[in-house]
Amino acid sequence: MTIKQLSVFLENKSGRLNEVLDILGKADIRIIAATVADTSEYGILRLITSDTARAYQVLKEHCVSAQQNDVIALTCDSMAGVFAAQLSAFAQEGLSIEYMYCFSIRDKAFLILRTSGSARIDEVAHKYGLHIITEKELQQL
């Protein structure tokens, strides 16, 4: 099971990130998780929001290049060693992780990741006891 992530093209100029976040804020869209990756020429902002489809529309109306795409969200206990245990499942199955970002709330950790094995994720999760969470669950955090 995958969830929707919003990827946004960011020109490398001062204030651009702020502009994009401002557009979403004014549209009453809440940001649950965010990460920015950058190169010397541009960046990609990746977001989990309270309403990805609407966030995409709003950005499009403001001529911001963006894309909705599928990622996997896992949750686990925020304890020493658990993170490694979670990822070892991917390693054992030979699935690569293209990128990942995490956050934790109290004693729970949340992992958003993109893997080459999205299609097999339910099977892998079952086999290794990973806890996949839905978009709805994430949005209720």
């Binding site: 990827s7 093209f9 020109e11 001529c63 894309q67 293209e98």
Partner: protein, 435 residues
């Protein structure tokens, strides 16, 4: 007699005969031109008479004529015929100073109509056709130029003129229009309105042929028009200084425009050095009229960029072909000794579906080195994958390097970040101190 040609003896004339005809007519054009105040002085200074021309290469002794010459000798300084033989004039808008005026004798108008008829016949129109012209009539040559040409051909010619799309569509349906002349953007408008009205141009009209020109368009846009309307669409070239439409036109091969060399001498020059460029290379088109009485123009710098397509055309016509226009020579810039035209860059960028229509070229000096920066907007097909974005940048760079022979820097920007492509958008910014 082969029925592919309107004037087979001229259209398929052997090159040697065609060139002999050009020399003969060039001498006559010089003789006539010298009767105008402008050329009397200009050719007098350089000592050019009909006898100066022995071979076609001798043409290069003649000084160029420019749009500015037409403006400064406004309105009748280049008229060579007695004014009582002048029966019509056309004029450009003159947004930047005096307009340019072109005067025609009855002979000039007849020959012009003949050229246009030749073009229309070439793309398959005959006297049974119904030709609807959506050009503006009046001073703009696309109106009367096509009107007289289509009438000469014998087609039923509908001077619908510009605008009123609903009425255009009514005419198309009621009169059984088979051919339309329109600018490409208006064709798309016609199509959209037909769709709204529930009319399928492929089944509900008799349209077979579209003549499109006057507005830059790509081959992909042409294919789109052909697909949408179920027609064949042909590119045409004309300019008011060369009378109007009918200077060069595509044949059914749709690969380059035959320029009528019995009526014009074609040269392609480097706009900087003013020397001829080899066939196949882009340069500024220079035209000399060969069959105009009232107002011949010798070596007129069109400012339009194109190239000669080398080789013979399978259609059998011997008149050489020019490529679709590549922009204006005023837009050319030189970096590290290489002439670069924005259209060369545009052509490459437009092939990437990941990119939008707008781009901006900036030339600047860094560490005494001139560099070209190309900023281009992304289309909606943005990808989340870095390696794809980097691969895209690399591929654009590689293809541009092949085309312009130096390595530009590519910067991807957001949609809407650059000036719009419509109208006279600035495409090139040259920030160098010593150009």
């Amino acid at each position: 007699m082969d029925n592919h040609y309107f004037q087979p003896e001229i259209e398929t004339m052997r090159r040697a005969d065609l060139e002999a005809l050009q020399i003969k007519r060039l001498k006559e054009s010089i003789r006539i031109a010298r009767q105008s105040p402008f050329y009397k002085a200009r050719l007098g200074e350089s000592g050019i008479t009909p006898d100066s021309i022995r071979t076609l290469d001798d043409l290069r002794k003649i000084p160029f004529t420019t749009k500015n010459d037409l403006r400064t000798h406004y309105p009748f300084g280049l008229v060579a015929a007695p004014m009582d033989q002048v029966v019509r004039l056309h004029s450009s808008s003159g947004t930047t100073g005096n307009p340019t005026v072109i005067c025609h004798s009855q002979h000039d108008l007849d020959q012009w109509a003949n050229r246009v008829a030749r073009c229309l016949y070439m793309v398959g129109l005959r006297d049974k056709d119904v030709f609807q012209n959506t050009s503006g009539y009046g001073m703009f040559t696309g109106g009367l130029g096509f009107q007289y040409g289509a009438e000469k051909l014998g087609a039923l010619t509908v001077p619908a003129a510009a605008g009123n799309t609903i009425r255009q569509i009514k005419f198309i349906r009621d009169f059984g229009t088979t051919a339309i002349h329109a600018i490409p953007s208006y064709v798309f408008r016609l199509y959209e309105v037909m769709k709204e009205m529930g009319i399928d141009p492929r089944t509900d009209t008799r349209l077979t042929t579209l003549i499109i020109g006057a507005e830059p368009h790509t081959n992909a846009q042409r294919r789109k028009i052909e697909e949408a309307l179920g027609v064949r669409a042909y590119n045409c070239f004309g300019m008011s200084e060369m009378s109007g439409p009918g200077v060069a036109f595509e044949c059914p091969e749709q690969n380059g425009l035959h320029l009528w060399e019995d009526c014009y001498i074609l040269e392609i020059i480097d706009p900087e050095t003013l020397e001829p460029v080899p066939d196949g290379e882009i340069g500024e088109m220079v035209l000399t009229t060969l069959d105009r009485d009232a107002m011949p123009l010798l070596r007129y710098r069109t400012r339009d960029l194109t190239r000669i397509l080398p080789g013979d055309c399978p259609c059998g016509r011997t008149h050489r072909r020019i490529d679709r226009l590549k922009g204006r020579s005023d837009d050319m810039f030189i970096v590290k000794g290489v002439n670069i035209f924005p259209m060369q860059i545009e052509k490459i960028l437009m092939q990437f579906k990941e990119l939008g229509a707008n781009y901006l070229i900036t030339i600047d000096t860094f560490n005494n080195n001139d560099e070209v920066l190309v900023e281009v907007e992304l289309s909606d097909l943005f990808t989340d994958d870095y390696s794809q974005l980097q691969g895209l940048t690399r591929e654009i760079t590689r293809q541009l390097k092949d085309e312009i022979l130096l390595t530009p820097k590519i910067k991807l920007v957001d949609k809407g970040a650059l000036p719009q492509s419509s109208g006279k958008a600035v495409r090139v910014k040259d920030l160098r101190k010593n150009k």
